[in-house]
Symmetry: D2
Subunit: 284 residues, 4 copies
């Protein structure tokens, strides 16, 4: 049976929970999960609500649409509604390092992540054999500084051609242009190999080593036009000491990067992440 | 303005969220927080809901009472309702080690914990000067194996005389009898100095050292008649290595014990903990 | 250039560090790492020392042998010496779940682990395609309760035939007999999917769920005749809450199991683990 | 019996371990702990070595002195030698928030920290009653921007008058001038309430809240002329979510600050911290 998930946010006011729950109940729906949050400083109401609706699967999209209208027009909420039959279709951009791609691929295989990898694009050929072995469509698009716009256009065309609804930068070492970000029209999740905002930019493990920190981290965030400044979805850390070389930091960091990126992608695909301002609300 | 907090649980069925939220909304209440959980295996519904009600403070208890009736009779829920004016009044039982008592006392002082310590009872005199310095009523009740029942009766009388609504065992090294637990009529929270269920019983740090574990822990749980088997509220852990002696484990453990006990007491006093079966739902 | 690693332990006495370091220095060796530990309760001295020796690679084994004799006869130490050219050759036993095997395989591929997987034996055919794709020798040995001894003999023959110097149980769901453990003559590392000693035995995630713990764990340990009682090498934990089903615990546990097992295998292969009594000293 | 602790560092070369251990052994000393580290990038050798020497307590300082000469002149090492009879004597600077001071005071009381608090100086009167209750010398030195130099001179005089060998900034909200740092002649440890280098400068919890991070931290570091840029000694972190207000971050941060500062002070007082460049080696 299909379930519907709605993500709402907007100005708080009395009766929001009652109206939403009442709308569903009157139509015979059964709420599976409902999670609210109020930002008491900014008076914003956030909700994730998931329910079963006693109609034929074919009628579910119309119910979702009707809910969305009610939430938008009656309650003045931003509303994103999705149906459990809509699966993630992820376009992965990657450079040389395969670990995050490989980890995501296996998590899709064992149904930890809902959906599939639609295509993989890389500016190197390193991960091609791996993609071939899993029958993942692979595209090699080299990046030449002078022709970056052309390369990005090619990427856009491939991603749209595969109908992806999420782009994941799985250790993709190129900066995306503002034009790309504007044109892609689906969210982009990046894994940054540091505990942002510490060590934004290039070579963060080398920066961390030079600074002598005792803990390193990884950060998954939505990509915005400002480099490494987008809304943070997930972070994790690991302890290091003077005994660890830069290579050790990189090795330990790989495990962190996989875990944090997988968590962010999972939350996104399960419609658990709401963005507002430059922050996220994650209904875990 | 007073807020009301209700903790509900009972058999799941459609319309629970709508009915509860609708009841509040119709009476002009404004929901501050609402958090639900469904145990999909056992089909049990859990909810913590906190709201403001537009009536005089003097009328709030009647509103709480009316809500409780509705939830119990109409919805078939177990219901615990409390009003934000009701503060914690904690009776602390402690033996020789002062750290948990001291930590709790300071957290009450700086309003991290809502309420106050009503009295302290110990089978030793070690913490008496500390209690005196903070003007906490202190009672010395030695425990003699042959007269344990008498001692427990004295403890019960003191705790009830001070009107405590929670008993905290802050490293109290005596086992409470089933009679005491039955008679006290308020919840009892204990801090056990291990990661339960590992190392239940006595001298857990020595047990952990002998077993050569690489991580130690602390567990706060409600006390039931079965030693160290009650519902777990909070746990935390710390890494140890072969370099750490039993004394190091004890030292590191003290920090864990304070943090875990304080967290459990805070959650309890904020009405965030629901017990069912031998488990807890914590609406953090 | 080859390095030599010695692991020593025995009764403590003055001059051990000086004698060991002096022996190496007099012969022109250059110590890369030296790490000592004294168990002050039991008066045992532990040391891991790694050094470069200015002789031809072909003469290194003789140097290692000479050191071992000195440590054993002059210092009365247990001594295990290895040369950096000796690589791990791991026999993996696995049942249906592939994640730990897959994780180990990739870590060997990217040289995080020194050596290689010599062979994989399973009582199911699930991981066979994966092994074939990586050209890992795969053996299917079904386990029939009445013929377990025969199956174990077949396993022993294969493992010895491949010259493995370590056996890893990568989620192998059969209990090894005492005879197997005695006969294999190389260490065996198991990953247990709980925070030992909590939840030893079968279905630990179900046990953890039933007990309502707030933290789950995984434990890598050397296998001894007593089930789940061998010396612990590595442990790690993850937080869970009432929101997590048994399936969530299993999913979160997979990540823990991979990380903890990989760490234990890495430490073992880098000769960082000393066993004494039922405990380990890990020179990280 | 007194023990001697030496902290050495300098250019690596063969024979350092053998020479140091040999020197001690020839004089009848018994090494309790020896820990080495080689920075293989910069070819620097680091060692912490602690030993018992079979002479009268009165002769121990001469032994320490002789060792120091050997290490400096024969081995070309920087050498800091101390005797276990020398205890920490800490001058604490604090502003309004008492928690770190209180925590340090109790850790000294229960001998977790070796030594004592020599005096407390504050630019506010908030912690005065607490200091009086523990008989800690308290000095109120208000800071007026235009007379900051005078205030710092008064502070210096008090700290030197009490013979402190360590200054701890226990949530001291004033920036120390370069002149103060140059003149004090003992190390200064600060607790910064963020995970440096993220959120250096003022109001880090507000910065963290605004950035929407999912983990907050605390950092203990030695103070240098550059604000929040000194060598990091210890760091720790805690998870936060969208549910946590700035006030929650501050509350959770207090626990982190206490633990991290206490750990850094303990390591420093046990002579476990070596500074080189802008980093630390911590022999834990």
């Amino acid at each position: 049976m299909l379930s519907i998930v709605a993500l709402l946010h907007g100005p708080d006011r009395p009766g929001l929970v009652a109206t939403v729950a009442g709308w569903i109940f009157k139509r015979g729906g059964n709420i599976l999960h409902a999670d609210q949050h109020r930002d008491s400083e900014e008076q914003i109401f956030f909700q994730r609500i998931e329910w079963l609706h006693p109609v034929d699967d074919s009628e579910i999209p119309a119910v979702a649409e009707a809910f969305s209208k009610m939430a938008t027009h009656e309650l003045g909420m931003h509303c994103h509604v999705s149906v459990s039959s809509e699966l993630g279709r992820v376009g992965v951009l990657v450079s040389k390092m395969p670990h995050c791609l490989r980890d995501l691929a296996f998590r899709f295989q064992q149904d930890e992540l809902r959906g599939e990898i639609g295509c993989v694009i890389s500016n190197h050929r390193d991960v091609e054999p791996f993609c071939r072995s899993l029958h993942l469509p692979f595209y090699y698009i080299p990046i030449d500084a002078s022709l970056k716009a052309d390369a990005e256009n090619a990427q856009l065309k491939i991603l749209k051609g595969h109908g992806v609804n999420l782009v994941v930068l799985a250790r993709y070492m190129q900066v995306l242009s503002g034009e790309f970000i504007d044109s892609i029209e689906v969210p982009i999740i990046n894994i940054h190999h540091s505990f942002l905002p510490a060590f934004a930019g290039g070579r963060p493990y080398h920066q961390a080593y030079a600074r002598g920190v005792k803990i390193i981290g990884a950060t998954a965030h939505y990509v915005t036009a400002e480099l490494d400044q987008g809304p943070i979805i997930a972070q994790d850390v690991a302890r290091v000491s003077h005994r660890h070389s830069v290579e050790d930091l990189i090795r330990k960091g790989r495990d962190l990067e996989e875990l944090v990126l997988a968590q962010a992608v999972r939350w996104h695909l399960e419609h658990r992440v709401l963005v507002y301002g430059n922050k996220t609300v994650v209904f875990d």
